[in-house]
Symmetry: C2
Subunit: 350 residues, 2 copies
């Protein structure tokens, strides 16, 4: 059971260190090996996704990632930006299925900017396609045409790309409340008309799941108005980028939200939903829980260690109940701790 650990940039090294401690504390024989991704990789090798990292990631069964990016690398040429590393590894490993839960922990209900009655008990799973769409479409670029600059990108999906992500979403809905909402913009974009057609064609194979469709603009509204109407949502890469971030912010505690990006064989890359938070990097105050919960997803999806996954998730719930809070989720009356102490608390709760 080989895990490639990519600490990344900003708070990445601090938060992955805690998740690694949690993984090591389990009675499972993992082989863990570290490599560089993102800005730190650019600094060391000139590339955000160096060949050594690619090799290790290809050989491993799973990848645990902290976060990439920071202002330091924002002015580099496109090909050297940290996010290129992330897009590169997703594409190379064929991680087409991005699973992003948006869960509101009862203890953290106050953190939400929404009224308690609107978000209490929120539990949505967003399934985002991750290796297609306008992210990777050709042709693309900036050219001079008719004497002025012209920027262009291509949105596209094949029916087999759509079908495989929809299957992941239907299966996920089956294990939850059997409601799947597919999000598109079929009234304007042919690509997403095909998306809707393929969803409708697949639906009879999942008679136990209720499939609905929603336009992306309406979905962005409904997430604000009444997010609990949703169980599983599935959509393309671009819309999924926007909606999954919107959904995670509904909880007000994005420092708690993990994610998994899977290939056809449950090889996966696991990372927190939040970013690299350069402003607090190195200060030992970042919240490691989303990364620890990402490690739990790793146990569940890649290694089918459901029991170990639940142990980790249970430990996280316990430390919340015990009142431990990093700065991002702190409220008066709770115990403010740093990254390392939060890791200690989770280890103790294990």
């Amino acid at each position: 059971m080989k895990i490639c650990v990519l600490p990344g940039d900003g708070i990445g090294p601090e938060i992955t260190a805690e998740a690694v401690r949690v993984l090591r504390a389990l009675d499972l024989k993992f082989e863990l090996e570290e490599a560089l991704l993102g800005g730190s990789a650019v600094d060391a090798t000139g590339s955000p996704y160096p060949e050594a990292t690619s090799k290790l990631a290809r050989e491993a069964d799973a990848v645990l990632l902290g976060a990439v990016g920071g202002p330091k690398w924002d002015t580099l040429p496109r090909e050297q930006r940290p996010e290129r590393g992330l897009l590169g590894i997703r594409k190379e490993l064929g991680l087409f299925a991005n699973l992003r839960p948006a869960i509101l922990y009862p203890e953290l209900a106050n953190a939400s900017s929404l009224k308690p009655e609107i978000v209490a008990g929120l539990d949505i799973l967003i399934v985002r396609e991750l290796t297609g769409d306008i992210y990777f479409g050709q042709p693309r670029g900036i050219e001079v045409r008719n004497g002025e600059r012209y920027g262009f990108n291509t949105m596209h999906y094949t029916e087999s790309e759509i079908r495989r992500i929809l299957r992941v979403a239907f299966e996920a809905a089956r294990k939850r409340n059997r409601k799947l909402c597919s999000v598109d913009k079929m009234n304007v974009l042919e690509t997403t008309q095909l998306w809707r057609d393929v969803a409708n064609e697949l639906a009879p194979e999942y008679p136990d799941v209720e499939l609905t469709h929603m336009l992306v603009d309406n979905a962005a509204m409904q997430l604000v108005r009444a997010p609990k109407q949703f169980d599983v949502m599935v959509t393309g890469n671009m819309f999924g980028d926007i909606l999954s971030d919107e959904a995670s912010m509904l909880t007000g505690s994005i420092g708690m939200l993990p994610s998994a990006s899977l290939d056809e064989n449950n090889k996966g890359l696991y990372e927190p939903s939040h970013g690299s938070a350069p402003d607090i990097a190195g200060k030992g105050v970042a919240n490691p829980l989303a990364t620890i919960l990402s490690a739990a997803m790793l146990l569940r999806y890649t290694f089918a260690q459901e029991e170990a996954a639940q142990r980790v998730e249970g430990a996280v719930k316990k430390v919340l109940a015990q009142g431990y809070r990093t700065g991002d989720i702190f409220e008066p009356g709770t115990k403010r701790v740093g990254t390392r102490e939060m890791g200690d608390a989770v280890l103790a709760a294990l």
Copy 2:
């Protein structure tokens, strides 16, 4: 001063009727003429944007629209769907600048799903480019390639398209709190890298406006987390579709929100931000205030009748203060009225 009135579908005829009564009550000599758009136009002529409508709209100085669409027309071939009418008139009239205010009226603060302290006093203006981007990009379609269906669309912008919408946004920010946030996805899409470059090039011409940039996924989060950080937001057609709907739903009272879509010479199409609400069509219960406020925008932008615009807006504020509420914004303790009575109340307040 010629106004083309397009009642459209669903509640469209009811709500435009009230806005027309308001316009007629002002001491201004408008020539008003009605035509068909959307589903009702398909039923009557086979086209969602018939030639007679196009002719009238081209001749008029301004267009006042209700809303288009409904389940009745959802299964028609693409070219006959009601929204084609809307896209057609936007493109033909060159209405590239869509202005969508998201304003929370103090009387309606409870309607929001967000906590009062997060949204009280909300006043954002979203400026959305409306005639370019992936909405109109070629090539597009669904084809069979390598034995399977393949859907594709093209996102694109020229620098002059970007520049003209940014100018509208900079000018709008000047008349407000001088803060402009430009939203893009420059870390993935070249089209929006060009968008950011052009924004930065223009900024020195507006030294009194503070320009910031935000990635679209972050913008979707920030609107939920702390919407009052924004003054004016500007973005492309696709991202603007999503973000403007999200922003309007933050108020919880989308039945109050108008919009304007302008060309280079302040010719404009004015319509409520909400849809055609087929479920309540014909019942006389729809909220006409967003359409009446759209008429106020028409007075302001196309006819430079600032005073008349403010009279109408003042009358709407007054009826809210008097406690008149249609069903969508009703709360116990206020006076529930229908569409026509709400129109009567506004006329009385004028």
